[in-house]
Symmetry: C2
Subunit: 250 residues, 2 copies
């Protein structure tokens, strides 16, 4: 924290932590990093990351395109800052209620955050988590496992596993939502259309197992959007539970 002049800190990470020395020599800056990031988030929320171009953000922030480069090294850095600002701090985690309840709450909170700001899922990941809010979420996830006898290494792996899972499931949900909106139809109808397509394409002789799934009518109607999420979440929680029980027993 104090060692902001540590040479080892990559530039984009440093920016995310707010350690950017701006010596008071030249004219007063007319913009602020936070303002630019907020402008970027406004654009992304309104029209998706596809609309987040430097010129568009600059217009939203009330400046010229090139002015942004006085605050941000490149577009990637802006995106990373937007991401960090968007995810914010995790809700408080109480491991007293048990690791399973705590991790479940963590996962749901994470999912809601993604669904509320779908553009965050389109920001390309640029490295291991190192921005303040990313670390805060990791800490929260680890806290959920604090009372178990897992090895620290295992806790980290598990949190990453869940983090990955939630992110992916949210991506799928958002993609489906986007596809549905693009054709202006209902979720049920979209699934049914997909089912019909597969019925057309899948030769039962070539893909017998898949044909059985289709014949069972799985793709004729849509589940509630969160049911798929719950299913996978429960499986992984079960698997982790086994390991926790094993470690507790030894």
């Amino acid at each position: 924290m104090e060692l902001d002049s540590g040479i080892g800190v990559p530039a984009n990470i440093a920016a995310a932590w707010g350690l950017r020395e701006r010596p008071g020599k030249g004219p007063k800056p007319g913009l602020t990093l936070d303002g630019i990031v907020a402008a970027g988030i406004r654009v992304a929320a309104a029209d998706g990351i596809g609309a987040v171009s430097m010129s568009r953000v600059a217009a939203e922030a009330g400046a010229s395109t090139m002015a942004l480069y006085r605050y941000v090294r490149a577009k990637d850095e802006l995106l990373e800052l937007m991401m960090d600002a968007a995810i914010g701090d995790p809700p408080p985690i109480a491991p007293d209620a048990g690791w399973r309840a705590a991790l479940t709450a963590w996962a749901w909170a994470c999912r809601e955050l993604y669904l509320a700001q779908p553009w965050t899922l389109r920001v390309p990941i640029s490295g291991p988590p190192a921005t303040p809010h990313q670390l805060a979420w990791m800490d929260a996830g680890l806290t959920a496992l604090a009372d178990t006898r897992l090895r620290e290494e295992e806790k980290l792996s598990i949190v990453l596993l869940f983090s990955m899972y939630v992110r992916n499931e949210a991506t799928v949900a958002v993609d489906m939502q986007a596809a549905v909106e693009a054709v202006d139809t209902s979720l049920d109808e979209a699934i049914a259309t997909y089912g019909k397509l597969l019925r057309l394409l899948v030769d039962p002789a070539r893909f017998p197992a898949l044909a059985r799934v289709i014949e069972a009518g799985v793709l004729d109607r849509a589940d509630e959007p969160y049911e798929e999420f719950v299913f996978g979440l429960e499986r992984i929680l079960d698997g982790v539970g086994l390991l926790i029980a094993q470690r507790a027993g030894s």
Copy 2:
């Protein structure tokens, strides 16, 4: 298959299935779709998807940029075709050895495929699986679960869960590999650098659980690259195993 004139089949899917009517009226085509796709794959394999531009692929295929558009509706479609060609057919799955062994083999095969062709991970997913090889992989995964008493719906969810997991874990592995190569260092060193960075940034008062992980030395050295993959895979397999046992019991 035969109903290629089905109006419901999206254009890109139709292309992937090879149903594209090219009536014999005009001059003989000088290129082939397969040739173009192969050229695209050659470019991607050599220099990554970033290098896959229409002009570059055209040059590789020995034609002008715009010639590609006689075979491909847009760049997205080309990428989808490249993807489908790259994943190929899954290895034969023998559920006789048990669902767990079969799913494990499936997951490893899938992972190897991603690692061998890292660019496939950067191709944006454009919809639910519908190309021939994608469906073949799905069928193979479902076959692994064929002898269980799971509901068809559950089988599908489980295969998607694994598919997602493998894809993500491979993405992380490839990203790490790329980062390591970019700085021209070793994996161990890269992890250690990350550990040092976190030691610098993480205030134990603010992120106690995370600080404990770091203090435990988890980030001082790298595991074998596949260990993280195995860990998550085993957890999910365990979780799925619980459900299978439950369904078998009832």
